[in-house]
């Protein structure tokens, strides 16, 4: 069980570093959506189902959607 949790934490940190490094803003937003999804799974391991449901529905779905709508209205690449 601890191996699974360690792998999930490692994947979450790797996705966060990917959101730091990518220059294409659309890829950075997808990486931040992956961070939110893995955090929601880790909330389930910490015995918090209410918080996991809130993080999945609000953080992973709606925040990503409004980011993509805003990027479509402004520039896509970082420079």
């Amino acid at each position: 069980m601890i191996i699974v949790v360690s792998l999930l934490v490692l994947a979450m940190l790797a996705a966060a570093v990917a959101a730091l490094v990518y220059r294409d803003l659309l890829s950075a937003v997808i990486a931040s959506c992956l961070v939110s999804l893995l955090a929601s799974i880790l909330f389930l391991f910490l015995q918090a189902p209410d918080v996991a449901m809130a993080e999945a529905s609000i953080g992973a779905a709606l925040v990503t959607a409004i980011f993509v709508i805003t990027i479509r209205r402004t520039k896509r690449y970082e420079e």
Partner: protein
């Protein structure tokens, strides 16, 4: 191995806070800064929930009639983090609206070149 048992959630939460802070300190694009704010928010929520965890506890819901009150995790940090997630999305929506307005006025999203333009 016992170090990992005790601290893996703390390492995950602190790693997210560190990456979020690094994005806020180093990057110049306005939307990249807002992505960093969102990652920082997720890290702090993870830290709050992992402080409230009790080893061997279960979720604080009396779903079956036979569950006893002992052996449940702390419900107060979960209630606070529920509030914090919703307020985080409200702040992100307002920040993105301001970013759209900024782009329309100054023509660029780069914070350093837009310092000379008046807003």
């Amino acid at each position: 191995m016992s170090f990992l048992h005790d601290y893996v959630y703390y390492i995950g939460a602190f790693g997210l806070v560190a990456v979020g802070l690094l994005i806020l300190l180093v990057k110049r694009n306005l939307i990249k800064l807002i992505i960093g704010l969102s990652i920082l928010d997720t890290g702090v929520n993870m830290l709050l929930i992992s402080v409230g965890y009790i080893t061997g506890g279960t979720a604080p819901i009396f779903s079956r009639p036979g569950l006893s009150e002992g052996g449940m995790v702390d419900p107060v940090p979960q209630a606070l983090v529920l509030t914090a997630i919703v307020i985080g999305v409200a702040i992100l929506a307002l920040a993105l609206g301001l970013a759209v307005r900024f782009y329309k006025n100054c023509g660029t999203l780069d914070l350093r070149t837009a310092k000379e333009l008046k807003w």
